[in-house]
């Protein structure tokens, strides 16, 4: 039996700077602080009724940010609904994320190579395979990466996507964020496999486990998977072990299925921001007061994004009709007239 060790970088501090420069590590850290600030703000806005149901990524910042830093802007990012952190690094402004949480379809921006966040579970994984194949066929130096959770590994499309990717040696990365929970159902109820990474074996593709709260290890793992893909060595399934600190979404009450004490280590020494902060302090690139400054900057930044989103003009009926097809068919023209006639 193959062993499935959990890859870490920050455990070996002497070697870590050789893998990820202090400068890059600091940038990753800043964006992790920004993502947490953003999530906390969004939770507040939801309580105030200013945004709708929101899925925070609290606790998963290392995987979200570390992974996206390993990508090129030419890569296709195929996200699930909790991946606004990765989308942000890839080029989508938080303003758009806020708009999305306000019930507006706006999770994309300009020419950022990303699909809209997939809401159904795992159905977006085959898209990453197709995008990866398309990049390869057109001779582009790009990969496609799909983000999904542990629950997604139970879906048929997980199987179909990894199987297709293996058969066609697609330059794809499957980033599974094993955060322990699919709403209330623990990962032990998703599979009898001791790990999720070992599922790669059945598809003849590479599989790895990484400490998903070690941002530098996640960065390094995705970087290696990307290099494998681009050198035609095929796709990689990454199981990133992390923990969802918050609710599934603002509509969820986690006290129904887990104990407050379960969270204690994850909020403490396992917290990805705490861990990277300790490391950067040891490296001498982060002072004790720097975090306060970063938080303040992040709050300002996030507040600006919220103001910009709230200043957007109200939605109009035509926006619901005009992007269903490239050209609005007569029945939609008529239905729009019906709606607008009814409004007046």
């Amino acid at each position: 039996m193959q062993a499935w060790p959990i890859y870490r970088v920050m455990g070996d501090d002497a070697n870590a700077p050789n893998l990820v420069s202090d400068d890059l590590a600091l940038r990753i850290y800043k964006d992790m602080v920004l993502l947490r600030t953003f999530d906390e703000k969004a939770l507040n806005l939801q309580r105030q009724g200013r945004v709708g149901t929101f899925p925070p990524s609290l606790g998963q910042e290392a995987t979200e940010i570390g992974s996206a830093y390993a990508l090129s802007k030419k890569d296709w990012l195929v996200p699930s609904y909790r991946d606004h952190g990765a989308l942000y690094v890839h080029g989508v402004p938080f303003e758009n994320v806020i708009l999305f949480a306000m019930g507006r379809a706006a999770s994309l921006a300009g020419d950022v190579r990303a699909l809209p966040s997939s809401i159904p579970i795992a159905t977006h994984l085959p898209h990453a395979v197709g995008l990866a194949m398309a990049m390869q066929m057109q001779g582009e130096e790009s990969v496609a990466i799909a983000y999904f959770g542990d629950g997604a590994t139970s879906e048929g499309d997980f199987h179909e996507a990894l199987n297709f990717a293996g058969v066609f040696k697609a330059p794809a990365i499957f980033l599974c964020q094993n955060n322990g929970w699919a709403i209330s159902v623990p990962v032990s109820r998703q599979t009898a496999s001791p790990t999720l990474a070992q599922k790669a074996v059945a598809y003849g593709i590479h599989g790895v486990r990484v400490d998903g709260n070690d941002a530098l290890a996640v960065y390094q793992t995705v970087k290696q998977a990307r290099e494998r893909a681009l050198s035609k060595e095929g796709p990689t399934l990454i199981e990133s072990l992390t923990y969802r600190l918050g609710p599934h979404t603002t509509a969820d009450d986690p006290t129904r299925y887990r104990q407050a004490e379960d969270l204690v280590p994850w909020r403490g020494e396992h917290d990805p921001i705490v861990r990277l902060g300790v490391y950067l302090e040891k490296q001498g690139v982060l002072g004790p007061k720097d975090l306060d400054g970063m938080k303040k900057d992040a709050q300002e930044w996030v507040n600006q994004a919220v103001e910009a989103a709230e200043a957007m003009p109200k939605v109009k009926p035509i926006e619901m009709f005009e992007h269903v097809y490239a050209v609005m068919p007569p029945r939609l023209v008529q239905q729009l007239q019906d709606l607008e006639g009814g409004v007046q």
Binding site: A105, L108, P126, H127, A128, V129, M133, E160
Partner: protein, 325 residues
């Protein structure tokens, strides 16, 4: 100009398209070396190779889902589903993604995807090979659904479908694959999506149909003609978006309408077309709109197929009833 059956017309169209546009791919089960179970892709693999004529693993959601990614990524994939009865695992991809990505991305992502599949009954196929599931698709916003009934329309619609910026589902009536030949021009020509065809003009009654039912409609209409009754046969060719204008003007002219499909009756497209006629031509009607359809039973094993499928007797009876004053 060569006479071709529908399989030949589709095959020729595919060869021409592959020559003309290097982005075009065909992917599905047995489409490569085998040339497709109905031989629609005959010769493509030898000519264009396995990079463009792709035998995939046996998984409909994977085929359509991967094709969506290919389409977004700049290719022009044609996904083949071996039989419409096996489409259902792939419906999720059509419902949840193909039909929505343009809207969900506020127009930033388009999915120029063509999904082809044989559909319908009448050839004594094994169970679950004969479904007419078009209503699931026409009910889904963001998709276009076309159904040729002749070799000419098959080629012209295939060209329109591959050039369309939106996902198009291309239904190929199994019974018409090799039934009848006609002259089909060489090279590119298009039959516009969204335009019905008056297969036979008439002033006494409008008979609306598509796919293999057009063949039945023509047979019955010619029979009525011998008795001096002029039936107008309207072959819809596109089921989404419906050609409202063609339906309205034909029914306004004749004042009587029978709708014919082989899919089960309840929730079938005949109901939608009837409602459309109420909206656009009610005051012209001289008789209630009637429908002749399959029954609300699972498509039966073929020993019962002749009971299930609309036939000349059932159709003639309903037409006669609708012609009464």
């Amino acid at each position: 100009m060569a006479e071709q059956n529908m399989v030949q017309a589709l095959n020729t169209a595919l060869h021409e398209m592959f020559e003309g546009d290097a982005r075009i791919l065909l992917m599905g089960e047995d489409v490569g070396k085998n040339g497709g179970v109905f031989r629609v892709s005959e010769g493509l693999f030898d000519k264009f190779g396995g990079q463009r004529v792709i035998d995939t693993p046996l998984a409909e959601s994977g085929i359509i889902g991967t094709a969506i990614g290919l389409a977004v990524g700049g290719m022009r994939p044609i996904a083949e589903v071996q039989f419409m009865g096996f489409l259902y695992p792939g419906l999720d991809q059509l419902f949840s993604h193909a039909g929505r990505l343009r809207a969900r991305s506020v127009g930033q992502v388009s999915v120029p995807l063509l999904v082809r599949m044989p559909y319908g009954g009448g050839i004594r196929a094994p169970e679950q090979h004969a479904d007419s599931a078009e209503a699931y698709l026409t009910h889904t916003p963001g998709l276009k659904v076309v159904v040729p009934s002749t070799p000419y329309d098959a080629k012209g619609l295939l060209y329109s479908a591959i050039e369309d910026p939106d996902p198009v589902i291309f239904l190929e009536p199994i019974r018409m694959y090799r039934l009848g030949r006609m002259e089909v021009p060489e090279g590119r020509f298009t039959v516009p999506i969204g335009q019905a065809r008056v297969a036979k003009t008439g002033s006494d009654l409008t008979l609306i149909c598509w796919g293999a039912m057009t063949h039945l409609a023509m047979t019955v209409a010619e029979d009525f003609q011998k008795r001096g009754i002029e039936i107008e046969v309207l072959d819809l060719r596109t089921l989404a978006p419906l050609d409202r204008q063609a339906i309205a003007s034909s029914v306004a002219k004749t004042g009587r309408c029978v709708i014919l499909h082989e899919a089960p009756r309840t929730g079938g497209l005949a109901g939608e077309i009837t409602a459309l006629i109420m909206e656009v031509a009610f005051w012209y009607l001289k008789a209630p709109v009637a429908r002749v359809t399959g029954f609300d039973v699972p498509y039966p094993a073929y020993a019962w197929e002749d009971f299930y499928m609309p036939n000349p007797e059932r159709l003639s009876r309903v037409i006669t009833e609708t012609l009464k004053d």
